[in-house]
Structure formats: C-alpha cells, structure tokens
Amino acid sequence: MAENPSNHINFLLEIDQEHLSDLVQIRSWFNLKIAHEGRTYWVKDFTQQQLESLEVKSIPFKKLYSLQNNLLFPYGSKLPSKRLPSALLWTPLERGLPVTLPAYNHNYFGLQEKIQVKLVPADIEQPDFGLVVSLATLSAYVQTAPAIRLQNLSWLILKPEAALVLGTPLLPVPGRSYWQRGSHLLPTGYDFELPVLQEVIQQKINPEQEEWVFWQPNGSYSFITKAQFRPLTISSVRLSVQSASVTS
C-alpha cells in the first residue's frame, strides 16, 4: 500500500509549562520527542493519524503546527506564523515527562481495614497433590493397581460416596484435583488472591498444622485432620467399601 505523503510532514505541538500535565495521555507514544525553550514546550514527530486522534484533540491550550523549511504553519493554515527556535534539545517524551510518585502518607494506618480471603484462577501450573474421586471409581482402579502406584499415597473417605487421595504421583482416575501450598489444599487452577498471605492465614486458622485446610473455589474451607489419613492399600479399600455397603 502506498504511504500517505503527509507522513513526511513534521507536525508539532506547542504547549505552555503550566499545561504540561495534560500531555499525560500521549506519554506512551514512543515516537514523540519533547524540547523546551523557556516556558514553552514543543512536541514533535506526530503522524497524521496521531494528530487527528481523540487523545491529541482533547488536550486543551495546545497549538498545532506543521513544519516546513523551519517555518511553522498553524495546522490547516497556508501562512506561516513563526519560526521554530533553533538549538532545541530533543528528548523522548517518556524521559521528558518523568513520572513522580505521590509521597508516602506516614499518618495513614488503616487499622480498621479487613481483607477478604478469596481464591482466584491462577496462571502458574502446579503439580497435583490431592484427588477427590468417587469411591466406586477408586475401588475399581485400586483393585487392579500395581503396588508401586499405591505406595506413596494415603486416603480417607470424605462422604459416603467420595474419597480423598493424597500424594504423588496420583492415580490415573478421573476426579477433582487439588494442589498443596503449605498445609492448604487448593483446587487445581486456583490460588489465593494474595498468595503472600498464605503463612498468615495458616497461623490464624491452623497454627499447629495438624489439619489440612481443604479449600473450595468459592473461598470456603474445611479442616481434615492429617492423622486420619491411612495408607492406600488394596485391602483398606476393599474393607472400607465392604463396610460402607453393609451400613447403607
């Protein structure tokens, strides 16, 4: 596609120092350069599209020029109004308009504020550590499983119908999986909104670490005593399933 010839015309923007902060919305355009002479600031290297964009149009107290032969033509005018001052020192706009951080408020304590603990979808992939699986699926797999796949695992029955298996590597059966963060069991794909608070939450609700804190995606949790877990063996599954079917 042919290039627009107007791109070769250099457009400039003139603005006074007191209105300089209005340039903030075009600060991220990396092609622009800025220079100043006294209290007058110049921004150059606009393209035609940038000049007609909403960001530029909404800057108040600005003057737009096009530059030809060092003469400044007000934008849209055919007569030059002045010359560009010589010996201007051009710097990239980003450097010319540095960001200043607000001063820290030492009198602010915010003691009354509370943080709600929430789980949010996480970006980082974590290895699985726990699996909630239906008792029927588990017993069908375990009764044909190689001993080596069971030796690192422990389990307990959550409800009459489901079992929680902990350890790695987990069993190749379908189920909801969980990962471990300290003594927390978080649903796979979720993490605390503020992961740095993990230790604090643990100290608050589970200081002895005798329980697993079993989280749900909605942010609710329950405790499972670690001592209740039993090694996953074929006989333990067989006997549990047997007694479950007798009682029901």
Binding site: T144, P146, A147, R149, P169, T233, S235, R238
Partner: protein, 206 residues
C-alpha cells in the same frame, strides 16, 4: 514343647523370624492340620491385599512350602544325614503348578532365599543348596531377587492368572530385580505397572 513345627511356622509368619524349638524332623498329622489351618488364615489375610480376584487357598501346597522351609532349616543347623538322603528329606512337590499352589506355597517359601544365602555363606559347595535351588526353579515367584538361571524358569502359570502376574511384577519392582524386569515374558507387565513414572520409581531401569 507340644507343637514345635507349628510354633516355628507361627513365629515365622508373625515375626518373620525362624526359630527352631526341637531337633525333630518328624511331623505328626495332627500338627500338619494345625499348620494348614494357620496358613489358610494367613492366606485369607494376605489375599485381601492381592489385586484382581485372588486364587483360592491350596492347603497341601502351603503345607509342603512350610515343611520345606522347616526341614531346610533343620538340615542347616543339625545335619546328621548324608548328602544322598537330602532329596528324600526334601521331596519335590508332585502336584501340578497352578496359581493357587504358587501363592499358597509362597506363604512360607518366600523365606527360603535368605536361608539359602545363609547356607552358602557357611559352605557354598553344600548339597543342600542345589536341592533347594531346584525347588526354587519350580516356584520362582518366591525367589524373585535370588540369582536363578533365567532360561530354566517357566512363566506359563504366572502368565495364566491376572492376580499372580501383577503380584509377580510388583515383587520384581519391589526387589528391583533388573534381570527379571528385562526378561521377555513379564517385561510388558513391568512396563505397564511403572507406566509413565518408570524414571520416578526405578531410575536404573531405562
């Protein structure tokens, strides 16, 4: 001491210690019944942990296994017999090889390889060793990890039963017997058991 043979097998099963209470090789039929009963209970407990459907208990086979271990330990400690008498004192098991027999015999025969190592450290030319090794050739499920010549082993019985095949593979993995793991008849089962995690569980087997 009323039932020395029963006592020996009982401690062997419960504490995995071999204690001889008398020098007597003779075993009364009454005691044989007691031991068979004990082994039947032990088998029931153990087979709860067997994968798939465990084969039924085979009483005579289990008794033969117990007697072989008992006689072998007697012969190791108090030898009064000639070498020629050994095969008479340690007869081979005459019935056919079935998965039931293999697993029932294993209840006691699994303690034979350590016994053999003991015997060969005393005298590795001992005639007892070759007699017992011949028994182990036949019942090689009990001898996984013990150095037997692979070409003489028959895997037909092992392959005929799901439960026994899985138990065999589990034992090979547990004892890390690399020679058996790379032996053709059961190699696929070993690989299937380790699955994706071969390098995690057994890094030497690549």
């Amino acid at each position: 001491m009323q039932h020395p043979f029963f006592q020996t097998i009982d401690t062997l099963r419960r504490k995995e210690e071999l204690i001889l209470f008398t020098r007597l090789m003779k075993v009364t039929p009454e005691e044989e019944d007691l031991v068979t009963e004990l082994l039947a209970l032990e088998y029931e407990k153990e087979s709860l942990n067997y994968p798939f459907t465990p084969p039924a208990f085979d009483g005579p086979a289990a008794l033969w296994g117990a007697q072989t271990v008992y006689s072998a330990s007697q012969l190791l400690l108090y030898r009064e017999n000639q070498a020629e008498e050994l095969s008479f004192l340690l007869p081979a098991y005459s019935n056919t090889l079935t998965p039931e027999a293999v697993l029932s015999i294993d209840l006691c025969l699994r303690f034979l390889p350590p016994l053999l190592e003991q015997a060969s450290s005393i005298d590795n030319q001992d005639a007892l060793i070759s007699v017992l090794e011949q028994h182990l050739q036949q019942w090689h499920y009990s001898a996984v990890g013990y150095d037997l010549a692979l070409e003489n082993l028959s895997f037909e019985t092992v392959l005929s039963d799901n439960c026994l095949l899985q138990l065999y593979a589990d034992r090979v993995i547990q004892r890390k017997s690399r020679r058996l793991a790379e032996h053709a008849p059961i190699q696929t089962q070993i690989k299937a058991s380790l699955g994706h995690y071969a390098s995690t569980f057994w890094s030497a087997l690549s």
